[in-house]
């Protein structure tokens, strides 16, 4: 029965306008990420520059032409002039003593030229002082200073930082969007009055569980296809290295997202059940939005200090766990029991929330028109509505 309901949700949602818009937006987002990754990752391509050498006595040409690990250098002698600089044919004009730039000095090119020429000068003067190459090496031997951070091996701090921010933000936004979708579906049933005939066939909690399942499949499917497409696309286009942490982080993020989805969409279903008109949807969703926003705020304020008690406690509370658990995990690998406990609490709460949502759905069925208030629900908390 639950699959029949889930199937209807998938089929009718997949051709609905809001879903298509969301898919389009996510697609654009994925493309943007891909482009961004390409631009940022562009650093492993050597930058091509051309240096114009003018005047005589410039024997540095050969040295500069060797370039550096990050620069591919073209030496222009013929026509190395101010005109060529103005036309953009060369990046800099060097006459042996002065560097001439078009607008301002490019620090990368500037330091490349200085370093290359200084190194040549060192070598020449060392030769004049009769220093053996080994002595020169000793002269320039760098001091050996190791680095460590309190958080441990943090060679991947940047990756973790981005992963934490991105997973938190994505979870927050997707839960909110899909929660609103689910709520709209519930209100649609109530406002179109189809609910009474539905409930003659199925229990409200079966109905709601079917809706959560159907939308969940759609949401996860959409995400996997888009993210999977992005990863495959990036792998094909360029040789990126997948951070090793991904293989533990991704399944955890997915599991948290799935359970968080079950919990939050049930909650949106519950709050949606209190109203019968689309006009009331905005105010009705506030009780479901607030805890989600709170979880996100905790994450946002804790990004410098991801171990603080609010985050730790919040990662076990079902209202904030969907955002805070992947957030915490992105900074430090969590113990298995912590993850298991948090996910267990989340799944149990989802079951409770579905039942509560079903109860509210059935209860407020008989109060069409007026909104069902929470005070009213509380007064009638023992009401037996099947």
């Amino acid at each position: 029965m639950i699959w029949v309901i889930a199937r209807r949700e998938v089929v009718t949602r997949a051709r609905s306008k809001p879903f298509m818009i969301l898919t389009g937006l996510l697609f654009v987002g994925v493309i943007a990420v891909a482009i961004l990754a390409n631009v940022l990752g562009g650093d492993d391509d050597k930058r091509e520059i051309s240096i114009g050498l003018a005047g005589t006595g410039v024997d540095a040409g050969e040295l500069l032409a060797a370039g550096s690990p990050t620069l591919d250098v073209e030496i222009v002698r013929q026509g190395a002039s101010v005109d060529a600089l103005e036309d953009g044919e060369i990046d800099v004009l060097f006459d042996g003593s002065t560097l001439t730039w078009q607008d301002f000095a490019d620090p990368q090119i500037d330091s490349f030229i200085r370093d290359t020429l200084s190194a040549a000068q060192f070598e020449r003067r060392a030769g004049e002082l009769d220093l053996a190459p080994a002595d020169i090496q000793r002269l320039f031997e760098p001091v050996d200073i190791a680095q460590e951070t309190l958080a441990g091996d943090d060679s991947q701090f940047g990756v973790r930082f981005v992963a934490a921010g991105a997973s938190g933000l994505a979870t927050f936004m997707l839960l909110q969007i899909w929660g609103a979708f689910l709520m709209m579906g519930v209100i649609e049933e109530k406002s179109s009055k189809v609910v009474e005939i539905l409930l003659s066939h199925v229990r409200p909690r079966t109905l709601l569980a079917g809706k959560v399942l159907g939308l969940g499949l759609l949401a996860v499917g959409q995400m996997l296809i888009l993210v999977g497409g992005l990863v495959v696309g990036l792998l094909l286009v360029r040789d990126i290295e997948i951070p090793s942490g991904v293989w533990t982080t991704a399944p955890l993020s997915l599991a948290t997202f799935v359970l968080g989805f079950a919990f939050y969409s049930s909650m949106f279903a519950a709050v949606g059940s209190t109203v019968s008109r689309q006009e009331d949807a905005n105010s009705a969703q506030i009780p479901a939005m607030l805890p989600l926003i709170a979880g996100y705020m905790i994450a946002a304020f804790s990004i410098e200090n991801p171990d603080n008690p609010a985050v730790v406690i919040g990662s076990f509370v079902p209202f904030s766990a969907p955002v805070l658990l992947p957030f915490r995990n992105a900074f430090a690998d969590l113990a298995l029991w912590e993850v298991a406990l948090s996910l267990a609490i989340l799944s149990l709460s989802s079951v409770v929330m579905i039942r509560l949502a079903g109860w509210i759905y059935r209860y407020s069925l008989l109060r069409t028109g007026a909104r069902t208030t929470y005070a009213d629900l509380w007064r009638n908390r023992n009401a037996d509505v099947l």
């Binding site: 309901i5 005939i197 003659s200 229990r203 008989l366 099947l386």
Partner: protein
């Protein structure tokens, strides 16, 4: 024994409002019962109680002698007073979906949906979204939704409300056809002429209680009032009946309201003395008159 729907002594309060105050009724297998009463008399609440939408405070409901479980309820065809369909679902999809919810598998639901769409002249609109259909066609889809699983019991809340004459005729045909095939039908209505055309059995409720039930003829004959209608061949002078009261008199015909146990023969003899009679009838009140008497007077029988 006990084949059919049995509702015994149903009570339900909503806050201070007593919705049901001891409603009892029986729909035997294959019977077609009209459930009559003014708005707010408890018809919808009773039907919702059968469908499990309302849990009664007291009383019992059984089908073929057993409690109505979820599985039993799935085999009931229900048409709520508040009609409703998914607006953005195609007509066929919708019928198939509710067929599946009623326990049919997908292919069987699909086959039956096709049959119903043909039967209801919706074959060419099968793939239209419900919101694109006219009101009358939406009602047809609604009917198909409540019948697709071939229910043994039909609970129809105001099935004729909002139907155009053609659709009402289709509805009448289909309801009769269902009962002939052995289904039990309970339908509510406040349009009494439709009820008299369709069924011979009725239950009348007012203020949450059953005020009368039985065959319509029997209900009428149980009335303490009889109407004696006389038409003379020639106009007569002013005339006063022997017993009862004269409710209509135009010089040539008269209607006398008299007690059912009054001496009818003496009354007719008295009329004959005024002149030769062309036409004569003595009948209990019509259902509609009975209805307003019962409902307004609150009197039971």
């Amino acid at each position: 024994m006990d084949r059919g729907l049995n509702i015994v002594n149903l009570h339900k309060r909503f806050g201070d409002v007593v919705a049901l105050n001891g409603v009892s009724l029986t729909v035997p297998q294959g019977a077609l019962i009209g459930f009559l009463g003014p708005n707010g008399s408890g018809k919808t609440t009773t039907m919702r109680a059968v469908m499990g939408m309302v849990r009664p405070d007291a009383g019992s409901i059984s089908w073929n002698g057993a409690d109505i479980t979820e599985a039993v309820r799935r085999r009931i065809g229900y048409m709520p007073q508040e009609r409703g369909l998914y607006a953005r679902m195609r007509a066929r999809e919708q019928i198939v979906y509710f067929g599946q919810l009623a326990g049919l598998d997908r292919s069987e639901a699909g086959r039956r949906a096709g049959q119903w769409l043909e039967r209801l002249d919706l074959g060419d609109r099968a793939d239209s979204l419900v919101q694109e259909l006219s009101g009358g066609n939406q009602q047809r889809v609604q009917l198909a939704v409540s019948l697709v699983h071939d229910p043994e019991l039909l609970i129809l809340d105001e099935p004729f409300a909002g139907l155009d004459p053609v659709a009402a005729e289709t509805m009448r045909e289909i309801i009769s056809e269902r009962t002939q095939k052995g289904a039990s039908v309970l339908f509510s209505s406040h349009q009494l002429d439709l009820v008299s055309n369709l069924t011979s059995d009725a239950v009348i409720v007012a203020n949450g209680s059953v005020v009368a039930s039985g065959s319509i003829d029997e209900l009428r004959s149980r009335s303490p009032v009889r109407r004696l209608r006389i038409r003379w061949k020639e106009p007569v002078a002013a005339w006063t009946p022997l017993a009862g009261s004269l409710s209509e008199f135009d010089g040539r015909s008269a209607t006398v309201e008299m007690a059912a146990d009054a001496d009818a023969a003496a009354g007719i003899a008295h009329a004959l003395r005024a002149g030769p009679i062309d036409d004569l009838s003595m009948e209990p009140p019509e259902l509609s008159e009975l209805f307003s008497d019962l409902v307004n007077g609150g009197g039971g029988s």
